[in-house]
Structures are given as C-alpha cells and as structure tokens.
C-alpha cells in the first residue's frame, strides 16, 4: 500500500513541477526569437526605437528566463531522486539526449544570456546581434533534445532490452534521433512557444494602446507579434495534426482515450466535438459527432479503422500473456545464463516484456497470474482519467483555433492600418492566458495519455519510482508547493510591475544598479 502511495505522490510531484516548469519555457522560446527579430531590424535600419524595444522586451524575457532555468534543474534532479528505477532502466537511452542537451544547448544559452544583458555597451552591434540569436538558437535546441528524450518515452525506437544488465540499451542512436514522434513533437512544441511569445507581446502592447501610452512603441511591437504569431499559429495547428497522425499509429490507446471512443467505429470514424466520457460504464454520453473527421485525422484514409478502447484492451490481454512468457524466460536466464532455450524465448517475446511487468502491480511474480489477473492488467492499460484527457485535448485545440483567428484578424487590421480598434485590443488582452492554458493542456494530453506507461509498452510507471517512503514524499511535495508558490508570486509581481513601468523600465532594471 505504501508503495502505491509513494508512486502516486511521485507522479503528482513530477506532474506539478513539470507543469510549473512549462509556465516559463514557452515564453523563453518565443520571446528569444522575437528579440532576435527586433534586434535584426535595429541593426539593419539603425533606428533607436528598435533597440529600445529589444531592451524592454529583454527585461521581461530575463524575469521569465531565470524561472525557466531554475525550475528546469528540478526536472533533471527528479529523474534520479524520484524515478530511480526508471533512470537506471532506461538511463542509457534517455540520459544521452539529456546530456547532449546540456553540452550543446544549455551551455550555449546560459553562457550567452549574460552577454545579452551585460553586453549592450561592451559588444559591437553585430556582435550583440549574434549573441541574441545564439540565445534563441540555444533555447530551441534545448527543446529539441528534451523532446527527443520525451519522444522516446512515447515511442521507444532504436533500443533493446539487455537481460544481463536488466535495462534498455541503445541499439541505433540515429533512430532515436530521427524518431518521427520526437520530430513532430519538437516542431509542435516550439511553434507553441513562438505563439506564446507572440501573444504575450501582442497582449502587453494592446494594454499600452488601450491606455494610450507608448503608442509608437506598442504599434511596432504589435506588428512584429502579429506577423510572427500568425505564421506560428498556423504551424502549431498543422504540426499538431501531424502529431495526432503519428500518435494514432504508435499510441492507439491514447488516441482512443482522447476521443472517448470505447468501441471501434465503422471507418472512417467520426470525431466527438462534445461528450461526457464515463470511465465506470465504458461509454461517452451526450456525444456531438462530426462524421469522418477522426478517421481522416488519425489514419488519413477512409477505410482504416481507429480502434476503440475495448478492442485495444483485448489486444493488450494477448500481449500480457506473451509478456508473462518473456518474464518467465528472463527468470530462467537469470538462473542459468547459458540456457539457449530461455534465450530464444526471451528474444521471441521480449517486445511484450513490459506488458508482463504490468502484473507487478498486483503480484511479485507475474508467472503466477490467473486469467482474471490478466484481465485486470489489460484494463489498467487505460489512462486513469479519460474524462480529463478528452477535455484537455479539446481545450488545447480550441485555443489553437482562437490564435489563428486572433492573428488573422490582426494581420488584416494591420494591413489596413486599423490596429487601434478597441474591440481588437480588448480581444488581444483577453487572449493573454490562452497560450499557457493550451500548453499545459497539451502536455497533460501527451503525458497523462501515455499512462500507465512511463515508457510506452516498455516500463509501467509504478515500477519506475524510487524506493522512498510516503513520508519523504509528503515532505518534498509540500516543500515544492511552498517554494514554487512563493516564487510564482514574486515572478508575477515583478512581471506586472515592469509591464506597467513600460519601455523606461530598461533603465530602472538595469543589471548594474
């Protein structure tokens, strides 16, 4: 029982700290590129206002940036502190992109971010511009490596199980690198970051224009934000569709849960616009369906079925039974490492070893599983909360379309030189929280949808946790909540203070004072 509590608390701790981390990351991603764009215009046109803009948005970037750095270290630590078995089981694969991220991206970003703030008077114009772009490049590269690591958890390619070391090891690093899921996630995530940066700049500028302050400054910022934002918003939706297509190939349970689809429909499946998934009764009530849409998104064909959760559970039962055979072969190999038969069996069934391990939630030895146990384990392949998944996905998508609409209208008004329409400014200001809501919802879909796996089909989440006591977990979870809440209050306070101060805040916050 205490193990289950530890696992649950570890999941909450990781989920909360990860979501907290991702409050800051998308703005870093987006603003760093926007800073690069504004400074490029400054260097090309030599007009002071563009330098002032870069410096002002740079102040806000800095307030946000440190929080991203500080909370990012927590993530690296937690793989070891709270997910020790996970870290050693897949560390050979998962640790590598993380280490490269540090060597390549984080190094670049962190070494140069100091120069961005301190270097305005010490570097040449071109030199400083290069620094700014390197910071932006570093942030995006950082996201690339992290998403290669995360992509592997969703779709574990290029690795194999080594029975001698009892862990996953790299077989083909190229496959891990060019994992289609990782690539799709990367482009989707950074465009989401770019949208966040653009909405932030748009909303703050709208706030100035509504109050008739810093007009020239705000209008220029707004134009940059709108053109950059429109391109990013379009790509985030298109690339999100690509992600959806790939999920449906590799994580069928995730797509079925997102859809609240319990039974397989006749292809092409319809998309649920609205519904109330009921996990106990295995049905989704009050559905409003759009015919054909899901089939087209998920399979890009008219005749391939999208499997429902009940059918996927039936498939899981078969894999669990095979997984028990793999586990049995592994045990025989541990007793007699030269046993050829056992080795052949393991090779044959090892792809299902992870499914066999699902039974460890109820018994120490999966070989003793009865048919009921296997049935129970098969149903555990459903994510815990289908309702939350169903709705987070719809919230994320709705936000995506809001962004396109907002930037589209903005683009039109900007071309007509009518950006100061008050209804548009209000809409822009109200849109401020949306990128964060959609980013958090998106991560929830990606990571909760992966449950019960920490690495899809390879290692169940409950096995990955460290051997800590629930008491230790309560203390650390409480500590995180406390420290993070205090820091969030400080961050938001500083951010709104410097937004209110406006462009002169660069002088007020100058690092050397």
């Amino acid at each position: 029982m205490s193990v289950a509590t530890t696992v649950l608390l570890s999941r909450w701790q990781f989920g909360l700290t990860a979501m907290y981390h991702f409050l800051f990351v998308p703005l870093t991603l987006g603003l760093s590129v926007l800073l690069g764009i504004m400074e490029t215009i400054y260097v090309m046109t030599d007009r002071q206002i563009w330098q002032k803009m870069t410096q002002f948005w740079g102040v806000l970037f800095g307030i946000n940036f440190v929080m991203g750095v500080a909370t990012g270290i927590t993530m690296e630590f937690q793989f070891g502190t709270n997910w020790a078995y996970y870290a050693q089981y897949v560390g050979d694969v998962f640790g590598t992109p993380l280490a490269i991220e540090g060597l390549m991206a984080f190094f670049l970003e962190s070494t140069l971010v100091g120069l961005f703030f301190f270097g305005w008077h010490r570097l040449s114009k071109i030199g400083h511009l290069i620094v700014t772009w390197c910071v932006a490049l570093g942030s995006s590269l950082s996201a690339l490596w992290i998403l290669i690591a995360n992509g592997w958890m969703q779709h574990p390619v290029g690795a194999h199980f080594n029975f001698e070391t009892l862990r996953m090891e790299v077989k083909d690093f190229g496959a891990i690198l060019f994992n289609p899921v990782a690539q799709a996630k990367f482009v989707h995530t950074i465009s989401a970051g770019y949208v966040t940066g653009a909405i932030f700049m748009l909303a703050v500028s709208a706030y100035y224009l509504l109050r008739n302050r810093h007009v020239a400054f705000a209008k220029r910022s707004m134009t940059v934000a709108i053109s950059f934002g429109l391109a990013s918003a379009l790509s985030v939706v298109v690339l999100g569709d690509e992600s959806g297509y790939l999920i449906s190939e590799n994580q069928q349970m995730k797509i079925a849960a997102i859809e609240g689809m319990w039974k397989t429909e006749k292809p092409p499946a319809s998309f649920n616009l609205f519904g109330i998934p009921d996990q106990a009764k295995h049905e989704t009530r009050a559905e409003i369906k759009i015919p054909y849409l899901l089939g087209l998104i998920a399979t890009r064909s008219l005749d391939t079925p999208v499997l429902g959760m009940e059918d996927l559970v039936t498939h899981a039962k078969v894999r669990i039974a095979e997984g028990v055979k793999a586990y049995d072969a592994l045990m025989r190999l541990q007793a007699h490492p030269t046993d050829r038969m056992a080795r052949a069996d393991l090779t044959r069934y090892q792809d299902d070893l992870g499914y066999g391990l699902l039974l460890r939630a109820w018994m120490a030895d999966p070989r003793k599983a009865t048919a009921q146990d296997i049935e129970k384990a098969a149903w555990s392949t459903l994510p815990d909360n289908v309702f939350a998944l169903f709705w987070s996905f719809r919230v994320m998508v709705a936000c995506g379309f809001c962004f396109i609409a907002l930037f589209g209208v903005g683009f039109y008004l900007s071309a007509k030189r009518m950006l100061q329409k008050r209804w548009f400014l209000w809409a822009a200001l109200c849109a401020l929280p949306l990128p964060w809501i959609s980013a958090e919802a998106g991560w929830f879909v990606a990571e909760h949808g992966r449950q019960p796996w920490v690495v899809e089909g390879v290692l169940p989440t409950f096995l990955g946790a460290s051997s800590l006591s629930p008491q230790q977990m309560w203390v650390s979870l409480g500590g995180f909540v406390l420290v993070y809440t205090v820091l969030a209050v400080i961050e938001v306070y500083l951010m709104q203070k410097y937004v209110r101060l406006g462009p002169q805040s660069y002088e007020a916050s100058h690092e050397t004072t």
Binding site: A70, W83, L98, F106, G114, R167, L468, G479, V483
Partner: protein
C-alpha cells in the same frame, strides 16, 4: 569502440566537467559566500554580485552538465545517489533554484529589505553547496550503505544524518575553505578599496583553513578502512570491478 575505451572517454569527460565546475563555479560560489563579511553595505555587495553577474549562469551549467553526464554514463550511480541521498539532493536542488532567481531578481526592486534578503539567501545557498560537495566526496571515499534486489532496484538503508559523519564533514569544511579562498582570490582581481582589503584577509584565513583541513584529512585517511595497501597490485586483474 570497445568498452574499456568508451569508459576512459567518459571518465575523461567527467573529470573535465568536475574540474570545470570547481574552477568556474568555484569562484562565484566563493565570492558570494563571502558576501556577509566582505560586503558590508548594499553598494559593496552589489560590487561583488556584479563581479560574477555576467558569468555565474554559464558557470552553473558545468554542474547541470555533470548531472547529465552521470545520468547518461552511469545510470546506476545516478539513481542510487540521487534517490538514496533524497533530502541532501533536494537541499542542493533548492540552492540551485534560489541562486538564479536571487542573482536576477535582487536588482529588480530598490527596497533595502528585498535586497538584503536576497543577499542572505545567495550567500547561504553558496555556503551550503560548497559544504555539501565536500560532504558528498567524503561519503564517496568512505562508502555508503545500499543494496540491489534481484530486479536491480536500489535501496539506500542509511539516513540523511548518516551522511554527516566525521570524515565527510571534514571534507565539507575543506571544500568550503577551498571555495572561499578561490572566491576571495577572484575578488582580489575584480575589486578595489574596502572590498579588496577584506577579500585579502579572507583569502589568507581561507588558505590557512585549507592547509589545516588538508593536513588533518591526510592523517585521517590512513586510518580509514580500505585505504591500506594489504597486498601487491595484480597487474593482470580486472581494471575496475563495479561500473
């Protein structure tokens, strides 16, 4: 590439990273740790922070990188150390969360209380980290109680307080003195006036501390179990038993 070669490459990389960390992060940890003594006024403390301001962020990366390399190259060590020393690791983590925030946010508001609070947090964090690194190395030299079960799940059977034994604590004080000496030397290069004079005194006292701790440690280590040469080394034996 064969396994022994790969291992040497990782050892080399790890060595470079740890040395890089000691050199680069050492001087900013040391400078900031000295702040309560060397910087008496807000302006003096600002001078110290500005001396490390443009570089501390890059320096800290050495530490994060070290963690990443541990993870990738020695997952067992990484998971054993991080989960076993749970609260010690979270304490290190807390200092590494507060440092970036402190450096950046200190200057954002002009209030005296705001700034002196961040100054205190920054110097405490630097002192705690400097101490804990020595304690960690000391514990590595002495060994810690952990075991694996048949599925290679690791269990640490000590406690947080069990890490604070005599010898590791001595190593902690040694590393604190080293960092302080390093930081003071950096301030001697970067500052002048009162700060410079106090840094000079601090550097000398820290150097004395390093010498004394090192000497005691040298005598102590001879009596630690496992550090006496009991037989001739077998040149044909395995190069390293556990890795």
């Amino acid at each position: 590439m064969d396994y022994p070669t790969l291992r040497v490459i990782w050892w080399l990389l790890m060595g470079i990273l740890l040395i890089g960390f000691m050199i680069y992060d050492g001087f900013d940890l040391g400078s900031v740790a000295l702040m309560p003594w060397v910087g008496r006024t807000d302006i003096e403390r600002r001078v110290i922070i500005n001396a490390v301001g443009p570089v501390w962020e890059g320096n800290q990366v050495w530490f994060v990188l070290g963690g990443g390399v541990f993870f990738a190259a020695w997952p067992y060590l990484y998971s054993t150390a991080f989960s076993g020393f749970y609260f010690a690791m979270l304490l290190v983590l807390l200092t590494f969360i507060m440092r970036p925030v402190g450096f950046k946010y200190r200057s954002k508001l002009p209030h005296t209380l705001w700034r002196s609070t961040w100054d205190r947090i920054l110097s405490t964090a630097a002192i705690v980290v400097s101490l804990l690194f020595g304690v960690a190395v000391g514990n590595v030299l002495m060994g810690v109680p952990f075991h694996f079960d048949p599925s290679l799940r690791v269990f640490y059977t000590g406690s947080f307080w069990a890490l604070l034994r005599g010898f590791p604590v001595l190593c902690g004080i040694l590393s604190l003195c080293l960092f302080l000496m390093h930081g003071a030397a950096y301030l001697l290069v970067k500052t002048e006036g009162d700060v410079w004079r106090r840094a000079r005194i601090a550097a000398m006292w820290a150097a004395v501390g390093v010498g004394v701790c090192f000497a005691i440690g040298g005598l102590w280590v001879v009596h630690l179990p496992g550090y006496q040469l009991a037989s001739m080394i077998d040149p044909a034996g395995p190069s390293y038993a556990m890795d």
